[in-house]
Every structure is written in structure tokens, then in C-alpha cells.
Symmetry: C2
């Protein structure tokens, strides 16, 4: 048997009991004959508490020092987890991101992995020990400073290590049983997905599904590393994220296969009003946003009014970057020459994800009908090969998700008992 990488999130190691429970699970994997590498997040709310402390001390904490601070969280959880495993009679060694060979660029607070040199990890597992690695952190190649990987960084660490160590699977443990056809807190009849292709998972993740973040799915897809998302509180099989075997593609291939409905209320919408409709204008707008390292999501350009030669451009972006983007655009207004800006943070995005969508016009029709019947207005639309997303008012989002979920026959026969963690998270 080969090597598995297991990743445990903060809610799985929230306290001493959680750490002991996770230790038992790791030892079981070890006993079954696997080499085990574990990636662990900070305990429970540790990271939030550290952020609060930082804000008390300084309202705009510096990148380098902020990373130094936050990495203390994983250091605590990984050392405790190693102790708990040793207590069960198995060897375990903890490693910081730097010690584990997680080499990153120098962009503090959201560094990108540029290389993994897991020599010490390999050595540890070859000696029969469980290697515990701090998630979310690395070391800058150029400055040798400690960096953090930003949101979803621990999942990405796990997948990247799994790839570098040629693992059989990367198991992501969380407080729910897997990936669901919709958020089970909103849709009671949501079903656990047993298996989902990378592409669909990627669309779900970037569309607001919180279980996995797009970044880690993208990494797994690129290197074809299967991910098994499962609960650390139950023994159930979770959701496998991997390529569908070639053979299965034959059957019913012309049918649309809907994976699920995602929603996202973390975005805001900016509308740039009265943009001269000539080449290069949109580019100038998005260049000024990109220069601030802000990622935008949906973009819609209205058909320009022939009389004025002016058009409106709307786009969505994370609420947290909203004010910074408005500032940037206001500064760039004289150069770009638009009329005004509108900012709206009361929006929600609903996305339907599944294969074969574009070639099935009925899918789009059913989607819009369901929203219309639920009385939900559509403000923006964007589509990809396997996704349709719409922007609506934030207060309509729950009705919209339920209506779409039902319309596509995703509801389970019975209200499925969703197993959440014992902590009620």
C-alpha cells in the first residue's frame, strides 16, 4: 500500500478531544499499512483570535509580520497532534511549512507555492513515522521569510504535498460528510455527491461551495491527484473528486449531468457607467483592478447606446476588495474617462454546475423558469461550458437555490440526515 495525505481543518482539531480523535484516525490509516502524511490547520478559532490581536495592536498589520503571527496557529496544532499520536504508541514528527519544503513566492498573506522539496517528510515516513505538516504556510524562495498561502492554503498544501510525494489520494477531512448538491443549511433535501469530476468541482468551488476552494481543486486537476472529501466526525465514505474513468463517459453522454447548485453572497458588484465604447477602454478598467491584485469574477458589458457611443460595464469581485477597487477606479477616472461608478454589496450569485449543459438548451430554460417561478429577478448572467451563473438580490438567494435544486430533480427522496461535527459547526 502507498502513501496517503490527510488534511484536517480547524474544526476537526478545535480542542484536546478533537486532536485525540484525529490522532486515532491517523493511527488507523497507519495500521492499515499506509504511509501517512498529515496537513493540519490551526485549532478552531485560533487564526481569528490572532487576527483580532493584530488589529488591536495595529489597524493595518504588515504582511511579513502578519504571516509570522498567523503561522503560530498551525505550529500549536501540529505539535499537539504529534504528541497525541506518540501517546498512542506511534512515531510522529511535526514540520513547519519551511521544514516541509513548501517554497513560495514573496507575496505575503497570499503567497503561491512555486516548489515542494519534501526531503525531510520522505525521510520521516520512510522511517515509519507519521509526518505532520503545518498547513497554510511556506517560506519565500528569495527572502527566506515566512509566508502564508491565504484562503484555502491548507487544502492546497495537502494537494501539493500529495503530488510531490506521489500519494494514492489526498483526503480532505472536514465537518460535513462531503460535497452536497447544494448547501445543506439552505436546501434540506440536498444530497451528498459520491463522485464528481475535477471540472465540475472547480466550478462549484469558484461558485461559492465552501467545502473545497478552487485553488486546491485546480492544483489537483492539473496533476490528476484524486481528492476524497470526508467527515472527520464519521466513518462514512465522502465525495471523490477525480476524473471519470474513460469507460463511463460512453453511457448517456449526450445527457446533461447536473452536479449541483452553488451560491455565493461574498461578492459585490461594481458598475462603471458611461464608458466610451472604443477599443482599449475595458482593458484600462481591468488593468487598474489587476494592478491591485484583485480578482474579478463575472463581467458583463451592455450593448452600447448608439446615440451616445457610451456603454456600461458591470463586474463582480470579493466584497473584501470592494473599497480598494473603487478607490483605484476613482483615481483612474480622468485617464479612462467614464461617467460614474456604482457599488452594490447586496447581491448574491447562484450557479448551476454540470457537464453537457451548453449542448442542452433545455437546461438553461429550466434554470430561468425555476427562478422566474420563484419570483427572483436576474441582474447578470454568465455561462461557461459546464456552468450557468446569475446574480440576484441577496435576500432572494435561498428561495432561488431551493427552486433550482428542485427543478433539476436534485432533491433527495427523504430529508437526508446531514452529519455535522459534534460541535455543531
Amino acid at each position: 500500500m502507498g502513501l496517503v495525505v490527510q488534511k484536517y481543518g480547524g474544526s476537526s482539531v478545535a480542542d484536546a478531544d478533537g486532536i485525540k480523535r484525529v490522532a486515532k484516525r491517523i493511527v488507523e490509516a497507519k495500521k492499515s499499512g499506509h504511509q501517512v502524511v498529515v496537513v493540519v490547520s490551526a485549532m478552531g478559532d485560533t487564526t481569528d483570535e490572532l487576527i483580532e490581536l493584530a488589529e488591536e495592536v495595529s489597524p493595518i498589520p504588515s504582511g511579513r509580520e502578519f504571516d509570522m503571527l498567523l503561522t503560530a496557529g498551525e505550529r500549536i496544532s501540529m505539535a499537539l497532534l504529534a504528541m497525541a499520536i506518540k501517546k498512542l504508541g506511534h512515531e510522529a514528527l511535526s514540520f513547519t511549512g519551511s521544514q516541509a519544503g513548501v517554497i513560495t513566492d514573496s507575496v505575503h498573506n497570499k503567497a503561491r507555492i512555486i516548489d515542494i522539496t519534501p526531503g525531510r517528510i520522505k525521510e520521516a515516513v520512510d522511517k515509519g513515522a507519521v509526518a505532520i505538516v503545518a498547513g497554510f504556510q511556506g517560506v519565500s524562495q528569495s527572502t527566506k521569510d515566512i509566508t502564508t498561502l491565504g484562503r484555502g492554503g491548507s487544502d492546497t498544501t495537502a494537494v501539493a504535498l500529495a503530488v510531490a510525494l506521489d500519494a494514492e489520494v489526498c483526503e480532505i477531512y472536514t465537518d460535513v460528510d462531503g460535497v452536497f448538491t447544494a448547501d445543506p443549511r439552505v436546501v434540506k433535501k440536498a444530497r451528498k455527491i459520491d463522485e464528481i469530476p475535477f471540472e465540475d468541482m472547480l466550478e462549484l468551488a469558484t461558485s461559492g461551495s465552501k467545502v473545497l476552494l478552487g485553488r486546491c481543486v485546480e492544483y489537483a486537476r492539473r496533476y490528476n491527484m484524486p481528492i476524497h472529501v470526508r467527515s472527520s466526525f464519521s466513518g462514512h465514505t465522502g465525495t471523490w473528486v477525480r476524473n471519470r474513468p474513460e469507460g463511463e463517459k460512453g453511457e448517456g453522454m449526450e445527457q446533461a449531468i447536473i452536479s449541483g447548485v452553488a451560491h455565493d453572497t461574498s461578492e459585490a458588484k461594481i458598475t462603471v457607467v458611461g464608458v466610451p465604447d472604443k477599443p482599449g477602454e475595458a482593458a484600462m478598467i481591468f488593468r487598474s483592478i489587476a494592478d491591485a491584485e484583485i480578482n474579478i469574477d463575472m463581467v458583463v458589458q451592455n450593448v452600447s447606446a448608439a446615440a451616445t457611443g457610451l456603454t456600461d460595464i458591470s463586474f463582480t469581485l470579493p466584497k473584501t476588495d470592494g473599497h480598494r477597487a473603487m478607490e483605484k477606479l476613482t483615481k483612474a477616472q480622468p485617464d479612462i474617462g467614464f461617467e460614474s461608478l456604482r457599488y452594490d454589496d447586496q447581491i448574491a450569485k447562484i450557479s448551476l454546475v454540470g457537464a453537457g449543459m451548453r449542448s442542452n438548451p433545455g437546461v438553461t430554460a429550466t434554470f430561468f423558469e425555476a427562478l422566474s417561478n420563484a419570483g427572483v429577478n436576474i441582474e447578470l448572467i454568465s455561462t461557461s461550458e459546464i456552468r450557468i451563473s446569475v446574480v440576484t438580490r441577496e435576500d432572494e438567494v435561498k428561495d432561488a437555490v431551493r427552486a433550482v435544486h428542485t427543478a433539476f430533480g436534485l432533491d433527495s427522496e427523504t430529508d437526508e440526515a446531514v452529519v455535522y461535527g459534534g460541535t455543531g459547526r
Copy 2:
């Protein structure tokens, strides 16, 4: 002006306000024209909380993982302190023990410093930044694992860095105004000592004075690095620990100069009863203790009873090592051949420290008279060139210290207002 190293203990950086207060003080030193290197401990009770967590997870935490865990504490305080200094408009960079070049041996939980290679620290201060270094931690030369330096480790880090960076002075900030002639909590009339030689400070420290630990004073003495012990809560001059200028030694040199009275209730006494009085017996006893890395303090061997050829050996050691020592000795009993062991943890040690003691027989006489008048029984006696220590019952220690303090004219004219930290620690 040159470089100063400042060390702040956990009570000085117990919360966000403490960190901001310390940041201001650091910036003042910077503004006065000094290069400033700061060594900082973990915030308040952080270390104790981490130890509790570890004990919840595993009753006997492992050395390596325990060190990994504990070093998270300084990581938090140093990053926050750097942020607070930046907020005041000055550049600051934090460094782990490893990044600061604190190279140690591999004895986890009480590593010893074997080298300091402060290249990154020098670079930082040469660029005009304040360098913040995590106290109490280093990196093992052979295994590259994170180590901690054990009790008093942060003070030792500060002195060692001061030496390596050729600093003017090593300032140790604490929650009292300096070193006192006795513990001010016990002796109300204790006086702050303005200046004390390394040797006397060393004896006071190893005799129970908590302000500085012997290890850091020893390091400072060896490299002649002046230490200024002072309060981080007041602006007062504290206690200078340094060699007396040659000139001052002439005056009144034949007089005993009493520095202070220290007491210590952290030790226990073991008596090995019925030891064959022949060469090598004592060596075997102390070898078995030394093999367990336990430091013993006072040793007294009774005159052997001629009739039996047996003698008793008593020694004191830290209470925390008491049970381990008893275990070791019990195991070694067949080889050594003593009769029995007695363990007593209800003892206290009182020490009088000062120069010229041995050549002034009156000092010893006054010491014993004072104890006798206070009704205190003496169980063990040990003396050095500049110290007399006695062991008494633990419940008599306060009376004993007060009596000796008064007898040597150390009482201040008025009850001195001892400035403790605002937190009441």
C-alpha cells in the same frame, strides 16, 4: 551611539496595551540614536496555557514536539510587537531564534546555546530597523530541529545576542524596579540595589532571587556584558550588574559588602542514610543523579560514626526533579549499598551574599545569631567565598529572611514604595 539589546518578559507584553507601551519605549531608545535589538518572551500566561494543552493531549509530551509547541508563544508576541513599532512609524522586523542565528545543542526543552550567527539581525539594524528576536528558542546544530532553552532562556538569548553584536548594554525589563536586597514581598524594607558585581548577582540568582537567573548572569560575567535590570512600567534607573571599576575596590576593601539576602523554597532535600564511608561511594551517588541531567545544589556529608563505618549524605535539588532522583537512587541501591533514602520537600534555603565574607568572621556569627534569635533552626550549611546558605523549615523562611535583613543593616529608613507592574503581578 551604539547598539542596545532590550529584553521584555511576558508580564511586560501581557496584552495589546502592554505591547503598545513596550513599542513606545523601544522607539524612544531608537530616537535617542541607538541601534535597538529586542528579545521578547511569550505574552503573559501563553506558555503555561500551551503546557496545559499539551498535558491534556499527552501526559508526557515529547521533547521535540513540546519545543515546537512552546515556540509558538514568542512567535505571536514578536510579530505583534513588530506591528506595533511599525504603527509608530519605525521599521521593525521579527526573527525566530533560528532566523536570528541562535544555534543550540539538541537537548530539547533545555538546550544550550553553542553559537550565535546574527547575520540577519545585523543586516536589519544596519538598515535602520528594530530587530525583534524570539527569546527562549533556537535551532539544533545537528538535527536542524527547533529547540527551547528552558528556564531563563529569554534572558540568556538577550545576553548572548548582546555579546555577539558587541552591544553597549543588555537591558532586562521586568515588572519590578530592579534587584532588591531581599524579596520585597517578604521584606517590606528591602532596598533597590543600584549596582552589583556579576559574582554577587550570580550568587543571589542561584540562591533564589527570581529577577535574573544564574545562567544569564554567568554568560554576562564571562563576556563582561553589563546588564541593566529595570521596570518596563516606570522610567526609573534600575540595577546595574557589572564589574566594579578597579578604583572603587581600594576603599574599604577589607570591609564585608553585603549585597542582599535571598531565599528559595523550590528545593527539596534527599538524605542517603547509611552509606559505607569509603572512597567512590559519594561519586556513585552523584553520578547516578548526574546521568539523569539533574543538578544538585548543597551537599553535606556527616562525619561517619566510627563504630559502623557508615555515613549519611544529604543534598538539595529542585523539587521538580525530586521523584526522578529518588527513582534513580532506589534503582542504584544494590550497587551503592546504602541503607535507606529520606525525602523532604518542606525545606527553604536562606542565603546571605556579599564580598569579603570569608575574611570577616563576624559576618557568619551575626548571621547565625540573627537566625537563632528568630527561633529558626539550621539543618544544613554551605558557604562560598561570597555566600553563606542555610537550610531551614519552609514555614520559618519569612521570619528568617527578615531577621537577617535587619541584622545586616539592610533595612531602608522608610518603607520603600516598590513599583510593581500595573497588572499587579
